[in-house]
Amino acid sequence: MEVTWLHLVPLLPLIGAAICGLVGKWLPKGWVYAVALASVLLSFLIGLRAFIGLGEQAPLFHELWFNWFSAGSLRVDMAFSFDRLSGALTLVVTGVGFLIHVYSVGYMEEDPGYWRYFSYLNLFIAAMMTLVLGDNLVAMFVGWEGVGLCSYLLIGFWFTDEEKAYAGRKAFIVNRIGDFGFLIGIFILFNQVGTVGIAQINSAVLPLGVASIAALCLFIGATGKSAQLPLYIWLPDAMAGPTPVSALIHAATMVTAGVYMVARLSHLYVSAPGVMAVVAVVGVLTALWSALIATSQNDIKKVLAYSTVSQLGFMFIGVGVGAFFAGTMHLVTHAFFKACLFLGSGAVIHGLHGEQDIQRMGGLRKYLPSTRTTFLVATIAITGILPISGFFSKDEILGQALHTRAFSFLTLTPDGSTRLTWLGPLIYAVGSFSAFLTSFYMWRCYFLTFSGEYRGPESVHPHESPSVMTLPLWILAALSVIGLVLGLPQAWVHGTGLQHWTWEHFTDGVFSRPRGGAPEEFSPYLGYGIALIVGWAGWACSYALYFKRGLAGDELLTARIHVLRGALANKLYVDELYDFLVVRPFWALARGLFRLVDATLIDGLFVNGIPTLIAWVGAMARRFQNGDVQRYLAVTALGVAALLYVFLVRG
């Protein structure tokens, strides 16, 4: 159904951003808060109203806002579409976004740059909504780059710190490498389909080769934005930004854009089954890789950052094995519990006057009761030791991976003798191990932060945050529990009122099915059992090491696996490797080329090397330096006259 109000969802926060950014410095503080919060809240309410109207009025709202640009056969519109997937995402982004805005009021209380901060935050919501709602790839790309800009601005928010400014730049450039892939993907699809509209692309017949290259290129974009191997390196550094930003942008919303994009283009990806295998494998490797690193980090935000990378890997497993609903469901539940965890860590940091090292925390359950409880709930959700939201969504992904038929017809050898049927189960096994690690490092983080005795300096007196910060925590913790509804198995809810609220049912018909077909109906109970065992095993290891021993747990572990833990604590030296292999050679190449080609070859040899030319230069310079401008002008005029004379004679 064509509507005329959809553009308000991104436009209102954009106006908010403009007001806060242009005049916020001179407005009273309360006004800035009011503008920033109201614009996001209004967006949320519009989204909510539309969401309720979705089923009753139309399956899809669409708005052609204006024609952005057209040339030749290319037509790019600013057009939005609001269906069940983009609608749900709208609610998550504006809803969680609003909570984080509220929280930020408390968190940024003392920062003189608060107006700038809220301007960027609003701008982010606007860009993210453009990304989510954009009905063509270019509109989506606008949001895609827009969120990247906000990320850059917010990571480097405290720009006087060189390291933080560098982290922002690193994020932007690594993302641009991904965006390069995204752009090429758009070109390929436009070349093939003749339009950039997502709906048209999703109904076009795409040859395998074209679909594969396009899907792969777009996935490069996703590995940048969603911090997957090999482009994940910017996300841990992105923790330099204010913590609410880490919650909003670098956990709940922006980084899931890659998953969303793959799900949005499900038709393209099922047309390229080989690429889906790549997506799933990259996902599971990233899940494992960063879960490993997370076990040895001591900065509470770094733990959560690597955890985010790992959980994004799980989402990519979901969409990669063709279970787009599972991947996107985890996206939603993850937004709740990870936002809760990050905001919780923010409350801890706030309560400890900037301390981020969990080695100097401990025993905080006494001082920060609300933070502790909500953090606990979210930790239970992410580790899946009790069946709340994260348990169901993660297990759905792993169950779908185990039973997937998306790869059953893929072959490794030309004669088709080796089929990739083992890939799904392998992903399941590695994924389950990553889930064990998840449980281990998250409980480590929880125990070292909240259990035991306080280990920080005497001068710091931990205190609970104001209610403007704890209230969002409670709401997010509640959502982390309630989110379980999304993942309930069909058999449990059949015939009840909850039937329409499971994510699988809700998104029915939104995604394409993989070429091998959806997996046969399978009973979830075995998977649930294994998941519980895995989760509790992680808890038990962590409990034995960190609850019982505190920091000595780390020492014990280090004594056993010295080299591995050293490598993990140094993030497996990936940054150093990239620096050595890519960054330094590249800058050296630039300097070398400059010296060799521009300075020596072109200028030295050709331009200045010719002696007559040098003589000329000298003569001209001397003549010029007597300062007689008029004579020079006269000479030029004579020259022009002479030229005219030349063709007078010829005429």
């Binding site: 040339a71 006087t160 932007f172 450039i173 080329l593 010296r595 072109i602 010029f624 005429g651």
Partner: protein, 512 residues
């Protein structure tokens, strides 16, 4: 009224000269008056040129505001001016930048103010005339007339190595133009009625393909130096670095575009078969410009030199788009010309303001300026984003159209790899521009931020604000521009991309 309407283009073109004459008549000492008159006339020129935008009517093969007055009919040249969409955009870009340029140097230029103002105004008329000409003699006169005031601007008000830079600039561009002049003569003697009129030469065409190639090369060399196309670019960093800020703004803002304009107006349509044959070579040089120019930026330690090299990269996009010969790519190339004028013009403007305050261009001396001068930091950021083509700013649409149009080109050989390599410019642009931005504005305040660096003054705001506005408005609503250039772009794409199928036939009436 009717007189003004029919002579509007001429009036706008020569209005700056009127200002220059007025300044010349004034007593020498009064610097403020001279600047005032220069500002007034450049502003009037801009305001009057708005009428060109509103009165413009796009029509295939027709020029708006056409005016033809016989000058020397026996020799075949006349005063013939008119605008098509492409020329119109660059024309407006020039008049738009005019008052900004005058205002930008209000404080910096204190010596020989009258000559300076005269040079600026003459330069403006020369550029406007180059764009408006529809007669090749007229075009050439204006084309060469651009050189002299710019030479003076660099040579008289430049920094330490100004003489070297000015002479290098002059020789490079002059050598190129001489060959073009010979080619123009050849065309004249070849055309049936011995005419320099653009439309007649276009109709007459050049039948012999190998002759076409020589003539194309002669024109192309002149234009390629101006653009500049790699490897003819080394005059540019020197000229930019040594020129005063106003000179750099005009140079980057509009003068470089005279080269690309020359390609789309003259070299390509006049010699379509040659243009088609050379398209892959020019596209390769364009891509080299993008990548190589970006790498050069990364190797610089001088603020202005870095931005100068970024022009090489940005103009590489334009050349790639022009040689892709699809409506998308060529439209994008023209749009990119305008966008580059705005964003790079703005960059040089800001760098000029920084230099006025710190008296250094050395990047190592900069750092932490965002703390002491937040307004400069904020405006510089917006301009940086425009320069790296962030969607929502003007820079995106042009680059995007160039790349997507190149990627889908069926005419250009090797279009896909060229587009892919060209697209790496998107990454590289972010690398050097954000590096520059961090270097200057972030981190703890360094030497240059030391002695109470002043933030933007009111006068400076007046120069920056229009540019910021243009960056945002053209980013959101580029379509009016694209509509204006549709006719000439389609015409040149048709003419060149189909040149190998239907060779131009000499019209019967053109036969002697």
């Amino acid at each position: 009224m009717a007189y003004i309407e029919s002579h509007l283009l001429t009036l706008v073109t020569f209005l700056p000269v009127l200002g220059a004459i007025l300044i010349a008549l004034l007593p020498r000492g009064e610097g403020g008056q001279h600047k005032g008159i220069a500002f007034l006339f450049s502003l009037l020129t801009f305001l009057l040129s708005i009428a060109l935008w509103t009165g413009f009517r796009a029509a295939p093969g027709r020029y708006s505001f056409e005016q033809k007055t016989e000058w020397a009919p026996a020799l075949g040249f006349s005063y013939h001016v008119g605008l098509d969409g492409v020329a119109l955009l660059l024309f407006l870009l020039t008049t738009f930048l005019g008052p900004i340029v005058v205002l930008s140097s209000w404080k910096f230029i204190q010596e020989r103010v009258n000559v300076y103002c005269i040079a600026l105004l003459l330069l403006e008329t020369a550029i406007l005339g180059t764009l408006a000409s529809l007669d090749l003699v007229l075009f050439y006169v204006f084309w060469e007339a651009m050189l002299i005031p710019m030479y003076l601007l660099i040579g008289m008000w430049g920094s330490d190595r100004r003489i070297y830079a000015a002479v290098k600039f002059f020789l490079f561009t002059f050598i190129g133009s001489v060959l073009m002049l010979l080619a123009i003569f050849w065309l004249w003697s070849n055309s049936g009625r011995k005419s320099f009129d653009y439309a007649e030469l276009l109709n007459a065409g050049v039948v012999d393909v190998s002759t076409q190639r020589w003539l194309f090369l002669a024109f192309a060399l002149a234009f390629a130096i101006k653009v500049p196309i790699w490897p003819l670019h080394t005059w540019l960093p020197d000229a930019h670095t040594e020129a005063p800020a106003a000179g750099s703004i005009i140079l980057a803002g509009v003068m470089l575009k005279m080269g690309t304009f020359g390609f789309i107006r003259y070299a390509m349509p006049l010699f379509p078969q040659a243009a088609l044959a050379f398209a892959p070579a020019i596209a390769v040089l364009g891509v080299i410009g993008i990548v190589y120019g970006s790498l050069m930026c990364m190797a610089q330690t001088d603020l202005k030199r870095l931005i100068a090299y970024s022009s090489v990269a940005h103009l590489g996009f334009v050349m790639l788009g022009l040689s892709a010969l699809t409506p998308e790519a060529v439209s994008g190339a023209v749009l990119q010309m305008v966008n580059h004028g705005i964003s790079t013009g703005a960059l040089f403007l800001m760098v000029g303001y920084l230099y006025e305050r710190t008296h250094t261009r050395d990047l190592a001396a900069y750092g932490g300026l965002a703390t002491v001068a937040p307004a400069i930091a904020a405006t510089f950021l917006v301009i940086t984003l425009s320069s790296i083509g962030l969607p929502g700013t003007n820079g995106f649409v042009g680059e995007f159209l160039v790349l997507i149009g190149t990627f889908t080109s069926r005419v250009l050989a090797g279009a896909v790899p060229l587009a892919v390599i060209g697209a790496t410019g998107v990454i590289l642009g972010a690398v050097y521009m954000l590096w520059l931005y961090q270097r200057v504005f972030f981190g703890p305040p360094r030497k240059a931020a030391g002695h109470g660096l002043q933030d933007l003054t009111v006068r400076e705001w007046f120069t920056v604000a229009p540019l910021l506005l243009a960056i945002v408005v053209l980013g959101i609503a580029p379509q009016p521009l694209l509509s204006a250039i549709k006719e000439p772009v389609d015409a040149v794409v048709q003419r060149v991309s189909r040149a190998d199928r239907a060779p131009p036939v000499r019209k019967a009436e053109a036969q002697p």
